[in-house]
Symmetry: C2
Subunit: 338 residues, 2 copies
């Protein structure tokens, strides 16, 4: 069974890598809620990884949240990494603002707005892919499995564009229950219409993708060990890119909020086995956490993979939820956001 295989891997020597970056596609009004407002969106990825390191953010004085205060999924991942002690590293995958953590540079450019122009210059993207692939090769030698999480506001839109350009029609998930499908479709179609259909995978990523898709797929391609893509639609795009570049041994692990989302279709579009995990947030006494069950946020920063990691290491779903709530109280509520 697939789930058991992954849980066994996760009991071994695990490295969590976070590929975090920005696409200026996030500047299109209404396309993302990964940040309380436009000015804050660029701080979301660095703040997410600072939260993982320190249990608080440094580039901004409060944790990332939706405009109405639903907390970042980095909170769930933080709880898992805190409880398991599993090591992690952060890879700059096109960040506008750098987090105050040890940061691996693979020369990833910030992604441009795919509605208007190419995401990245091809030569720069190719070079970044090579560095990130080398990184994947090196770190994979140390471990049994690499788990990759992401944080990039508007990443579901760029992922949708990459999938469409690869001939995969997806419904495209979102961090909002009222998924702005029509807006995303319009952006995706405009981006993909610039292609002539003869592009290589890397040309597609550099044209209509984002630097997180680029770096995450490159790390996977370099890895000598299995890779868990911890995420939803975005990781489906990453997995497709990686598979087309020769990658074989991996899984997508995501929260049930993505896997059971009617407006998404991760099981259909994934080229790899998909494992769905339930962080049990629907049972939380905290409104901000129950919101996940209601279709808000749903996934990100490797939350699904981190939940499976915790479960693999013998942490019960009941205890995991209690610990998430403790962190929620300390990290989110004391900041006065909710």
């Amino acid at each position: 069974m697939c789930v058991e295989d992954v849980m066994e891997l996760m009991r071994g020597n695990v490295l969590f890598l976070f590929t975090v970056g920005n696409t200026l596609t996030a500047e299109i009004p209404g396309i993302t809620v990964a940040g309380a407002n436009m000015d804050l969106i660029k701080f979301t990825p660095p703040a997410d990884v600072e939260l993982l390191y320190y249990g608080k953010c440094r580039v901004i004085p409060f944790p990332p949240a939706t405009p109405d205060g639903k907390p970042t999924p980095a909170l769930i991942t933080y709880t898992s990494l805190r409880l398991t002690g599993v090591p992690f590293l952060v890879v700059d995958s096109g960040l506008i603002v750098k987090p105050d953590v040890p940061l691996i540079d693979v020369k990833a450019p910030v992604g441009k707005n795919i509605e208007k122009e190419k995401a990245m210059e091809y030569e720069k993207a190719k070079h970044c892919f090579e560095l990130a692939k080398t990184l994947g090769e090196k770190v994979s030698k140390l471990v049994d499995v690499i788990v990759i999480g992401e944080s990039i506001p508007a990443g579901t839109t760029t992922a949708g564009a990459v999938l469409k350009a690869l001939g995969i029609e997806s419904k495209v998930s979102s961090s909002m229950p009222e998924n702005p499908v029509e807006l995303k479709k319009k952006v995706i179609e405009k981006a993909v219409s610039r292609l002539n259909g003869c592009e290589s995978v890397l040309e597609i990523v550099s044209s209509v993708g984002d630097p997180v898709i680029l770096v995450a797929s490159a790390i996977a391609c370099g890895s000598e060990k299995p890779v868990v893509f911890a995420g939803g639609t975005q990781m489906a795009a990453v997995a497709h890119v990686a598979v087309k570049m020769g990658f074989k041994n991996g899984y997508i692990v995501t929260t049930k909020y993505v896997a059971e989302d009617d407006s998404s279709d991760i099981h259909t579009i994934s080229p790899l086995p998909v494992i769905s995990v339930d962080p049990m947030l629907g049972k939380s006494k905290k409104k901000g956490l129950r919101a996940y069950e209601e279709g808000f946020v749903k996934e990100g920063v490797g939350a699904g993979g981190a939940t499976l990691l915790a479960y693999s290491r013998g942490i019960s779903s009941e205890r995991f939820l209690i610990e998430i709530e403790k962190d929620y109280e300390r990290i989110v509520e004391r900041c006065g956001d909710v």
Copy 2:
């Protein structure tokens, strides 16, 4: 036996970390030969690690060498890493020029000329120490041992200043057989004379040290596993700083060219067990390699530790020398430097 303990560790899961950076102390005429001329010295650390990654350099079109063509010790380390397949990562420890490799940023400042001024602002150095310590903690969880190598031209002078400030009188090694002892002593004395004797270890490093000593000692302090300091005098300074900050479990591994150097005294000044390794370059048919036996270059970029790593993994000293010579032919001779 100490040697056997380290060799056993090196048969396990090993990560080689290279802490590479610059101190403007290298601009004092005559203080270093780690680079063919003044303009090239700043390229030596990035070129060294590019050589490790690619078997050739990118920031300059030829491998680092002394003004008369003796090759960088990175060559020996390259051969060992190529043969053993041991993974490595590079930590930016105050680089002026960035290498074209995956590079870990811990906010290390470039070191200033200690003859004239403080090496680093204390607050910046302290912050960098904390990030590098966190990095050491994370990566150590993945492995059995961390091996740390360095590349920083004029690093023996800053190391001498740190040792002196810590009350340890050392002879101070050099990459030249005619060690410019008087010049180094003058610089060291001028730097240390700015101290009042009441400084903390971190204040000493930030005043008269360099960013490589800072980052390497911080990584060791963060590590949950044993650390091998692969180097000579510089690693003795790193080890002293780390030990004063609470570090316990480690070794210095260096080439016999340092360990048996009459103008050095690594065994006396090291706070940790010292292991001396012979890369057998004295038996080489290449003049540029035999020069090591004659007191040129001698050590750097983790060459001694890398040699012990190769021997630990069952590579005979005869084969290792043959493989170094092959790499020498391909990397150094074809560039027309020697």
